[in-house]
């Protein structure tokens, strides 16, 4: 282990050992609630306490109510609270049953989920029947509260968690107006399409507000949120009683990342040379590269070594923390090597006389100096100079090379300078120069 490694471990250990972060306010309440809940679930006489009693009574009461009221309403997610008095006589003496219902809900909230606030909607039913089921009434008829007291509760009431009892009990009226809806998705990646299922009852008109400027008056609208953000979806209904009711839910739309990269097209895949990948992806947290040779990397900007030249399909997948995803494939990367021209650095001319410069590619006798070409050349020019700077050869055809003869005479055994320029059919141009040694074979 190098000094560096020790250093880095020490650095993080010393700095992070005593790292503290202040928890969000209210976290203790959540923890406390969990303790109570867990103690409640692992009930024993040791832990038997007032919470258990309260919860048991609440459950019994809720169960009775749910059983007695319309079974259909027991499935909706929105908790609905019924204040059984007409708008015109709110300050008047509330019926004892209403107070009992209120108290029931409060109990439920305390016992199950202190501090946890869920969606709730307040619904006023305008008329109340006096035919309260006697069982339910006796179960909860314990306290009647003054109207002021109840008004305060109306605004501060925390509704219980849905599992714990989303039914706060309902009085059977002539009709009950309810505003509520389900969203097919509460969160997802942009653009996010959400189907809304209207759970409202006894409504005559719907108005949806999607908080990004969109709205709808359909019963069950579908909506696409294009941009990331948090959107409050508000459903306003007009009930049969002519009053407006509102319910809302928040839809979270996460940013979808964009996969984008470039690579070193001119990279030399031979000799195990490094190939650099340039990652221009946006909003991504994680990367996975598939280099097309069954090798992978999770680095943002990897450097890859290919075992053999060729063309590869390179794929980049990107993710965010929220599991939004994108990918990009570059097909047939490194087709560059197909368009390639290379020159040898020595040749042995035919000693007995000029061969004319045309050669057979498969001939390995190396009597003609000529390039090795892969790809289609559409332009080509080769010039060869001797040490004095005198041009001794020129060709406009790659198939026509230098046989080592200048003005019908074999040139001296020496180093010659060449320069070549040209263009491939894909538009790629080249300018190359180098030297070549003429070797006389005796």
């Amino acid at each position: 282990m190098s000094r560096n490694d020790l250093n880095m471990e020490k650095l993080f250990r010393t700095q992070m050992e005593s790292y503290t972060v202040d928890p969000s306010p209210g976290l203790w309440q959540k923890v406390h609630a969990k303790i109570l809940w867990k103690q409640f679930l692992s009930f024993s006489f040791q832990t038997f306490n007032v919470y258990y009693l309260a919860a048991a009574i609440s459950l019994a009461g809720i169960g009775t109510y749910a059983w007695l009221s319309d079974p259909g309403t027991a499935e909706q997610e929105q908790s609905v609270r019924v204040l059984p008095e007409s708008d015109t006589n709110i300050p008047s003496e509330p019926s004892p049953d209403a107070a009992a219902v209120e108290q029931e809900a409060v109990k439920g909230a305390e016992a199950f989920s202190p501090g946890v606030q869920t969606q709730d909607s307040v619904v006023h039913s305008d008329r109340v029947s006096s035919s309260v089921p006697p069982d339910a009434a006796t179960e909860t008829r314990q306290a009647s509260q003054p109207a002021e007291d109840q008004d305060i509760k109306k605004s501060s009431l925390v509704s219980p968690e849905p599992e714990a009892g989303d039914q706060t009990g309902q009085e059977s009226g002539t009709f009950l107006v309810k505003a509520g809806f389900n969203a097919s998705l509460l969160s997802g990646c942009s653009p996010l399409a959400v189907n809304f299922e209207n759970l409202s009852e006894n409504a005559v008109q719907y108005n949806w507000i999607f908080s990004d400027g969109g709205s709808s008056t359909e019963n069950n609208p579908s909506y696409i949120f294009d941009e990331p953000g948090e959107y409050e979806v508000i459903l306003k209904i007009i009930g049969k009683d002519g009053l407006e009711y509102t319910t809302r839910q928040t839809i979270r739309v996460f940013e979808t990342p964009k996969a984008l990269f470039e690579l070193d097209e001119d990279a030399d895949l031979t000799n195990n040379q490094p190939v650099y990948f340039y990652n221009y992806s946006r909003s991504a947290d994680y990367y996975e590269w598939d280099f097309g040779d069954r090798q992978h990397s999770n680095l943002a900007e990897p450097i890859h070594y290919y075992n053999q030249p060729g063309s590869y399909n390179i794929k980049l997948k990107v993710w965010t923390d929220k599991q939004c995803y994108d990918s990009l494939v570059i097909m047939n990367a490194f087709t560059g090597p197909e368009n390639e021209i290379r020159f040898p650095n020595a040749f042995i001319p035919n000693m007995t006389g000029p061969t004319g410069g045309y050669y057979d590619v498969n001939d390995i006798s190396n009597t003609v100096f000529h390039p090795h070409v892969s790809g289609d050349l559409i332009e080509y020019k080769l010039k060869i100079f001797n040490r004095q700077g005198l041009q001794i050869f020129e060709s406009n055809d790659a198939a026509f090379g230098w046989d080592g003869y200048y003005q019908e005479k074999l040139a001296a055994q020496d180093v010659y300078i060449w320069k070549a320029r040209g263009k491939f059919s894909n538009g790629k141009t080249f300018v190359k120069s180098g030297d070549v040694t003429l070797i006389k074979h005796h």
Partner: protein, 187 residues
């Protein structure tokens, strides 16, 4: 103010006051541990909640041997690992390939050069698997064998993830340093 002993004894008796005192005294330290493993605050707080519940309900198992805070830290680490496993199918999966890496050589890391926030940012920026291994090995001081058992991976996986995490960190710290030097020059 309750001292540590009173807190532990009180929690053993399920006393609300002691439980709250424990929270007030240790939650911020424990959240510091959770956030290193999660990288996300909301998830870290979930881990803290779950871990604290374990602390409260298993406090009788803490025999008073060793350090109480380390016992709780270990519970947080284990809870973070549970969360990691639970979320593994959602998080991206690591492929361990031995890709040669050009490391920035000779970068000496001076403790004083980096702030805690910078280091945390670097940790947060790691892929999830790397972050687990790096924290467990470098900060908590577990052996690769132990880490492999905890994360249910091969020992070599733990080693190679650690070494790649390190080279990523070194790169990130190196670029932080460069930025810092640039701003120094401008000044």
């Amino acid at each position: 103010m309750l001292d540590e002993k009173e807190i532990i004894e009180g929690c053993c008796r399920n006393e609300r006051k002691a439980q709250k005192a424990l929270y007030e005294r240790y939650a911020s330290i424990l959240l510091g541990v959770c956030i290193r493993y999660s990288g996300r605050r909301d998830e870290a707080e979930d881990i803290l909640q779950d871990g604290l519940i374990k602390v409260y309900f298993n406090i009788k198992d803490f025999a008073g041997k060793g350090s109480f805070i380390n016992w709780m830290k270990k519970i947080m680490v284990n809870t973070a690992i549970t969360h990691y496993h639970r979320n593994l199918k959602h998080h991206y999966h690591q492929d361990i390939e031995d890709i040669r890496e050009t490391d920035i050589e000779g970068t000496s890391l001076d403790t004083a050069e980096f702030t805690r926030e910078e280091l945390l940012k670097v940790i947060k920026g790691l892929p999830h698997g790397y972050r687990m291994v790096f924290n467990l090995y470098a900060v908590e001081g577990f052996k690769h064998k132990e880490i492999a058992r905890m994360l249910e991976v091969d020992v070599n996986t733990s080693k190679s993830q650690y070494s790649r995490a390190k080279s990523l960190i070194r790169k990130k710290l190196g670029s932080l340093k460069k930025i810092a030097e640039k701003t120094d020059e401008q000044e």
